[in-house]
Amino acid sequence: MKRTLSAGVVVLALTVAGCGSATRPASTPTESAGAAGAASKLVVWDWKSGEPYAASYIEKAKADFAKKHPNVTVEFVPQPFEQYYTLLGAAMQTKTGPDVMLFNGGGQIRDRADSLLPLDEYVAEDKSRLAGWEAFAKDGKTYGAPVTLQGHPIYYNKALYEKAGITAPATTWDEFLANCDKLKKATGAACFALGNKEGIGPQFWLSGMGSGVLTPAEYDDWIAGKRDWKSPHVKKIFEMFKETGDKKLNNEGANSTAMFTDIFSVFNTGKAAHIIGLMSDIGHWKDFGEFIGPDKVGIMLAPVVTEGATPSLPYDGGIGYAVAKWTKDPKAAADLVRSLTTTDALSSFSAEAGAIASDTTISAPQDAPVVGEIVAQLKAGKPALHVAMDSKTIDLMGRLSQKLLSGSATVDEAVEELAASDQEN
């Protein structure tokens, strides 16, 4: 009993002690100690530099950087991606983290922008050469330089289309649904390969289909942060998502199929005719081409639902390097970021990693015809809708999408909850 009491007292004391007092204040101004000439070291964190396909990219970047700062050594520390943001978060909390670090564009970098150095004055020269800056910007300031572009083309299996006697992809939603019927009857394949175990499905859906549903003005407003959740067009996107579940257009067990391991194999083995995939890293033209043949992979734009909508390829900066606020030598760190985004380094990365690089002046790998189609769409492309949302709302959207598919939530309820979360954050 005595021990119970004393333990209780300890807890109480801890609770009381915690009230009011706080940890040290957020940001301490970093002094720029190491001038360009002084010997110093920059530490880079990422999840790519350890991969064999990134070896020549890193080498070229290092060589370029050594020319500008011969006295600064650079250490690349590859971290496992699954734990990357956990480790990074802990490092940022103690302000002892790396000087330069890799980020996914969108929420991941924006949520941490208060720990990052604005790069605008350093990267001005690169602005027109590279695409995808918006994903690394917040409130008009740029916090990262894009390495790859990430987007969500709707891929289709040309072999299945041929079998079903479909000559060209649909341009309207009704036509698309009719094609799905034909495909099912002729080949037995599901219309969509959807892996929604982690709740990532609706992100791809929203961005993949959005440009066919929202009017151009609504689309631009959405990206600018003026998201009108009351618009019937926004609701329509989620209704269409639910429709794929209700009409059994998806592969079976979508809510228990993992996106990044299992669902791509559903498309690769011809069990589904369409998949909203990626452009870089994984689940893209190169992966699909290896299984169904590079010439059998096609991309289509979102089918039009709303009159006046102009379908476009949704894409953003995929991954990019940023500089920590606490770095001792911001100029050197920013120069390293620039070295990591030179045309020479990026063309290596694009060719070997199978990525669409951010550099608009390099030509895409020629062995896959669909890459040409993707690159041709870049000019008219727009930022993806889901990238503009904060990670909490994205997480909520994942859970709600599972409810939409299982029927335990209505579209109205889902949109209402999303609107509340989006406006709060």
Binding site: C19, A22, N255, S256, D262, G398, S408
Partner: protein, 322 residues
């Protein structure tokens, strides 16, 4: 005695010297005793100092920091005191509520998790045919890491996996084991029990080793059925073992299911398989809300404290009964 015959002149001196010498010795003895007394008094503190220092520096101090941190803000409010805001947000978050409700579910399922190894150990003790084989087979999953177990059952329980194929073959519809919120949490708990019951089984077998077999023989002679033997002989004799298994299984379920959740469901579908641990990880790692995660950790710590204290008091009461 020769000293008796010595002159009185000498005696006092001699005795005086003796007394003097005795005084010195006495003083020395006293001094030594005092020193010994002092060092004896300090010895226990010195001996426990390493353990105390380790606990204070590596356990209590971080705990205080963590609790303190939970009263500060995230993002732009990083480092500023926000009072109980994080705790209020937790209470409001349906996801955290689900996580807590799932802790309740685990407590409710605890008897099942204890009964399964208990029953199987009983059968092994009663030497059912093949008991040696079963003893090792039952223990086997306990040596697998949760990630491997999760990966195995991911394949087994996939929508187009072998279990659903089997169900289809016997004419039952497929079950979306990991995609249906009503099913998934039981599927994960079931896998957790499968993966960990081997350890509890070993504890039960150790308990059986202390069981007085003459009691069972007597019950058998009196014509007790298997059920009666278990209920009236085995369970009362093993009460302490059973309580021990209860405590360790509870702690295991509350603290070591993260790997399974991570691999099997990612907290889904619809957030139905969240546990506080997973919630903490998501908030810290994915949502960049370390202070909120600290608040959730503090709540989990308090829950564990209450559960642990309850269990200790139950164990102590049981100890007194013996």
């Amino acid at each position: 005695m020769p000293t008796r015959n010595t002159s009185p002149m000498v005696r006092p001196g001699a005795s005086g010297r003796a007394v003097e010498g005795g005084d010195k010795r006495e003083r020395a003895r006293h001094g030594a005793a005092r020193r010994r007394g002092r060092s004896e008094r300090f010895a226990p503190y010195v001996l426990i100092a390493p353990a105390v220092l380790i606990i204070v520096a590596l356990r209590l101090y971080p705990l205080v920091l963590g609790v303190n941190f939970s009263f500060t803000g995230d993002g732009e409010a990083n480092g500023t005191a926000v009072g109980f805001a994080n705790y209020l947000e937790l209470l409001d978050d349906p996801l955290f509520q689900t996580a807590l409700a799932n802790v309740g579910l685990l407590v409710l399922l605890l008897p099942v998790a204890v009964a399964i190894p208990g029953l199987l150990a009983t059968f092994i003790y009663l030497k059912v045919p093949g008991h040696r084989f079963f003893r090792s087979v039952y223990f086997f999953p306990a040596v697998l890491s949760p990630v491997i177990v999760g990966a195995i059952f991911n394949l087994m329980l996939a929508f187009d996996g072998p279990l659903n194929e089997f169900l289809g073959a016997v004419g039952l519809g497929p079950v979306d084991w990991l995609g249906d919120p009503g099913v998934a949490k039981f599927a994960v708990v079931g896998v957790q029990i499968w993966a960990t019951f081997g350890m509890a089984l070993v504890v039960f077998l150790a308990g059986f080793a202390t069981l007085d077999s003459s009691l069972l023989d007597a019950a058998r002679v009196d014509g007790a059925s298997l059920r009666q033997s278990i209920w009236h002989v085995i369970i009362p004799s093993l009460s302490q073992t059973i309580q021990f298994v209860f405590v360790t299984t509870m702690i295991g379920m509350l603290t070591s299911m993260f790997g399974l959740l991570y691999v099997m469901t990612s907290g889904g579908p619809e957030g139905s398989t969240y546990l506080p641990e997973y919630y903490i990880w998501i908030q810290q790692g994915q949502m960049n809300r370390p202070a909120l995660a600290s608040a959730a950790s503090t709540v989990l710590f308090l829950i564990m404290l209450v559960v642990g204290l309850l269990q200790i008091s139950v164990l102590r009461r049981a100890g007194r009964e013996d």
